[in-house]
C-alpha cells in the first residue's frame, strides 16, 4: 500500500469494532522492545549498522507468514514532516521515531493494527493496537509475531536480564502494555488525583494525553505498566487488567452519582458542547477535546442519541494539528488551524446528523 492509505482523514477501521468496556476504554496498546545481538543500540550505532539492521528486519518480516497481515514499509527520512506527524497522531509511529535521521523505518499492517518500528530507541519495536480493553488478546498477537520473527533474527537475550534493551526501564520482557481511558466523571468529581496516586503506588504510569499540561485535555488518560523486569508477561498484563477494571468500576460509579445528583446540569453541558462543535467557527484543540469528551459522556449515559460513537472516535483523531493541516492541504499557523478545525468538526458532525434525519424520515414514511 502507498503512504496515502495510512494518511486518510478517517479513523482506522479497527476503531469501529466495539471492544470490551468500549464506553470507557478507547484502546489497548501492546509494545514489545527487541534488539539484535552483535549490533549497538540506535543511541550509539553507525549508519552502516542501522542499514544492516533495517535490511535484516525487512527480510525477516517478508519470510514469515504473519497470519495474513500485509505490511507496507516506509523510510522515515523520506517522509515529509507533516506526514510523519499524521502517523504520530494515529499512534502508528512514536514522536521519537518521527525525528530519526539514521535509517529508521516503519512497517505498518494494512489494517493499521500492527506497526513495527525499526531503529527507534531499540532496533525493533513491535506494536499492536486494538479497540476497548483487550490486553491478553492484543498481547497474543504481538507475541505470536515476535516468536515468528525470532526464528529469523538473532535477538539479544540474556538469561538473567531477559530481552536486552537500550533503556533499562524496558529490559526483561520488553513489554509495555497501555490502556487509553476516557475518565470524565472521575475528573469532574476530582477523584482522578486519588486514582493516579494509587496507580503510581502500584507501579503504573498515568499520562494525560493531548492535554495542555495540568489539565488532561479531553479527559483521556493512558495507563501503562512501569515494571518490565522481575514480573512475567502474564503477571504484568494481569495486574494492569485488574487496575483497569477497578478504574472502570470507579468511573461508572462516578457517572451514576453525577447523573443522579445533577442530571439537568449535565444535560445542559452535553448539549452546549454539541452545539459548540456543530456551529463554532474557531476551535482550539483544547476546546474541541473538552467538547468531544462531554458529548462522548452524553452518548455513553444516553442523554445524547444523535451522534454515533465512531464519529466521535474519528473527530478525536482529526482535531490534532497534523490532521487539521492535512485536511487544509497545507501547513498552517495556530490561528488558521483553529478555523480549519472548526470547519472540519462542523462537516463531520452535521453531515452525520443529516444522514440520521434522512433515515428517520424514511422510517416515518414506512
Amino acid at each position: 500500500m502507498n503512504l496515502e492509505h495510512f494518511l486518510k482523514s478517517e479513523a482506522p477501521g479497527w476503531m469501529d469494532v466495539k471492544g470490551l468496556d468500549a464506553d470507557i476504554v478507547l484502546s489497548t496498546r501492546i509494545r514489545l522492545a527487541r534488539n539484535l545481538d552483535g549490533y549497538r543500540f540506535p543511541l550509539s550505532f553507525t549508519e552502516n549498522e542501522a542499514q544492516q539492521i533495517d535490511g535484516m528486519i525487512y527480510e525477516a518480516l517478508h519470510s514469515i507468514n504473519a497470519d495474513g497481515h500485509k505490511f507496507s514499509h516506509f523510510t522515515i527520512k523520506e517522509m515529509p514532516a507533516l506526514q510523519r506527524q499524521v502517523l504520530v497522531e494515529k499512534h502508528l509511529i512514536s514522536p521519537l521515531l518521527a525525528k530519526k535521521e539514521k535509517s529508521a523505518s516503519v512497517h505498518i499492517s494494512n489494517d493499521e493494527t500492527i506497526s513495527i518500528m525499526v531503529n527507534e530507541e531499540d532496533h525493533l519495536r513491535i506494536q499492536c493496537l486494538a479497540p476497548g480493553l483487550q490486553l491478553v488478546e492484543t498481547y497474543r498477537i504481538a507475541s505470536k509475531l515476535d516468536s515468528k520473527l525470532e526464528e529469523h533474527l538473532p535477538y539479544a537475550f540474556n538469561e538473567s536480564f531477559g530481552y536486552l534493551t537500550s533503556c533499562p526501564t524496558n529490559v526483561g520482557t520488553g513489554l509495555r502494555a497501555s490502556v487509553m481511558m476516557h475518565l470524565p466523571a472521575l475528573t469532574i468529581s476530582k477523584q482522578i488525583k486519588v486514582v493516579t496516586q494509587m496507580l503510581a503506588r502500584l507501579g503504573m504510569v498515568v499520562r494525560g494525553i493531548y492535554g495542555e499540561g495540568s489539565e488532561n485535555l479531553g479527559n483521556i488518560y493512558q495507563i501503562s505498566n512501569q515494571v518490565t523486569l522481575g514480573k512475567s508477561e502474564e503477571e504484568i498484563l494481569k495486574d494492569l487488567q485488574e487496575v483497569a477494571l477497578q478504574i472502570i468500576k470507579n468511573e461508572r460509579g462516578a457517572r451514576e452519582a453525577l447523573l443522579k445528583n445533577s442530571r439537568i446540569i449535565l444535560e445542559d453541558r452535553f448539549n452546549r458542547s454539541l452545539g459548540t462543535l456543530k456551529y463554532a467557527r474557531i476551535m482550539t484543540s483544547e476546546e474541541a477535546a473538552a467538547c468531544l469528551s462531554n458529548v462522548r459522556l452524553g452518548v455513553d449515559v444516553g442523554i445524547i442519541n444523535e451522534v454515533p460513537l465512531n464519529v466521535l472516535n474519528e473527530c478525536m483523531i482529526l482535531i490534532q494539528p497534523g490532521f487539521v493541516q492535512q485536511y487544509a492541504g497545507t501547513t498552517l499557523q495556530a490561528s488558521e488551524r483553529d478555523m480549519y478545525r472548526a470547519k472540519l468538526l462542523r462537516e463531520k458532525l452535521n453531515s452525520n446528523n443529516q444522514k440520521l434525519m434522512e433515515k428517520g424520515e424514511e422510517r416515518y414514511d414506512v
Binding site: 549497538r40 550509539s44 496516586q197 523486569l229
Partner: protein, 184 residues
C-alpha cells in the same frame, strides 16, 4: 503550559510518579516525555535538581559518595569500559541508556543496583527465545476465574453480562483446544 524540560514546546503529557512515597507530577512535551525516566541524570540536570540529591533520592545509590565501604567497587566501576560500544557506567548513568547488548555483561555487577530501584526485581521471568510459553496453563486459569464471574452474574441476575462471560469462556476453551498459541 510550556514543557518543564525543554521550555519550548507545549506540554501535552503529564507524567505522574511516586518516588520514595512522594508523588510528583511533571508536564512535558511529547518528545521530552519519551526521554523521561527517573535516573536519566542529564534529563533532570536541566531542571536544576542537584545531581547528588537525585542520586540519593531516586537511586539511593551510595556508590558516588566514595564512602569507605564503597570505595573498592567504585574505583573498578569507573574504569570498566564496554568493549563493543565504549560506554562506561558513568556514561550510562548520564544517558540513562546503554550503548549495546554487551553492556549488560560489562556492567552485569552494577546494573542490579539500578534495576532494583526501577524494576520489580533483577532477574527476568517470562518469555524467552525457544522456550514454550505457559499460555495453556494461563488460559485455564482465566477460564476458571471467568466461570466464577459468570456464577456471580447469574446469581445477581445480570443476564446480559452473563451471556458475554459465557461467550468469553467458549472462546477461551476453543483456543485451548487449538493447542494454545505462540509455539512455533
Amino acid at each position: 503550559m510550556v514543557c518543564e524540560h525543554c521550555k519550548e514546546q507545549q506540554a501535552t503529557i503529564t507524567v505522574t510518579q511516586v518516588v520514595n512515597g512522594q508523588k510528583s507530577e511533571k508536564h512535558y512535551c511529547e518528545v521530552c516525555a519519551q526521554n523521561f525516566h527517573p535516573f536519566n541524570l542529564d534529563f533532570h540536570k536541566e531542571e536544576q535538581i542537584p545531581i547528588h540529591q537525585l542520586v540519593s533520592n531516586l537511586f539511593g545509590l551510595p556508590v558516588w559518595n566514595n564512602g569507605p565501604q564503597e570505595k573498592a567497587p567504585s574505583t573498578s566501576q569507573k574504569s570498566a569500559k564496554c568493549p563493543t560500544c565504549g560506554f562506561t557506567f558513568r556514561k550510562f548513568l548520564n544517558e540513562g541508556k546503554l550503548g549495546c547488548p554487551q553492556c549488560y555483561e560489562t556492567f552485569g555487577k552494577q546494573l542490579p543496583l539500578v534495576l532494583t530501584k526501577i524494576q520489580a526485581g533483577t532477574t527476568h521471568s517470562g518469555k524467552a527465545p525457544g522456550k514454550p510459553n505457559h499460555h495453556n496453563e494461563w488460559i485455564q486459569k482465566q477460564i476458571d476465574s471467568t466461570r466464577e464471574q459468570l456464577q456471580l452474574a447469574i446469581h445477581e441476575e445480570r443476564f446480559e453480562d452473563a451471556a458475554d462471560l459465557r461467550d468469553e469462556i467458549r472462546e477461551m476453551e476453543r483456543r485451548l483446544e487449538r493447542g494454545g498459541v505462540d509455539t512455533p
